[in-house]
Amino acid sequence: MRSWLRLVRPGDWLLLLVGGGAVAASFPLLWQGGLGDKAVIRRDGQIVAEIDLQTRRSLTVDGPLGATVIAVEPGRARVVSDPGLRQYCVHQGWLSRAGEIAICAPNHVSLAITGRNRAYDSLAY
């Protein structure tokens, strides 16, 4: 073992260290694909707002039934309240992956997450 270690020069160690660090860092960096980076809010199919998923913001959109409240936090977004009868879009909770969408159909409002790498075209529950 010692005779092998002797063959590694100081710069080699440095390179291995830097390379190892870069490789270790590349795993989470490349594999968290699918996480969204923008929340797109639409009313009647028209984009009302595009909010970066880095910010913390609350937004009210007025539809035919009343106000739909949307909250954006770093990395996720949700419909907080909606005048619709069944509350599907509210119960969907936090959305964080690119392609996820919450549709408040009665109030004509939707909240979609978009991202650079989308793992899915569309996700709804």
Partner: protein
Amino acid sequence: MTRSPIELTLTEEDHRIARMAAAAVGLSLLDAAIPTPLPGVKPGLANIVTLLVLARYGWNAAAWVTGLRVVAGSLLLGQFLAPGFFLSLTGAVLSLGVLALAKKLPARAFGPVSWSVLAALAHIAGQLLLARLWLIPHDGVFLLAPIFAATALFFGTINGLIVARLLDEPPASS
């Protein structure tokens, strides 16, 4: 006896390159015979020869040996002009390019281990790039990059150590 119209004068260097290329082809066949969990993940044993030639006889000889190895190796494996051939050609060209630069690093600090790791990383980078541009035109291929890079680092280190060990020994008198 008819005289041959073409006289090929073979220098000592031609013989040496042919010998080294033959060794490299043998090792790349061995490489292909080792089962791997993922295409593209392999030890790259033939690079040991490339690096030895680089250290002893310079970059030109190393480029010759690598070129011959890629062509002859793919002929023997039945892969000539198949996608695998272009992948290995791209990898070889890129790693030779990187080796030309790596050879200029100060020898006190950077040895065969550095060359080997850099060449292995360049090799896999070239292959991924070609795969992205040509074979699988989707960014999804880059999801494999961390695995390939980790493999390159691992086998690059081992091959580099082998090269350093071989260079350490006195050259055999042949």
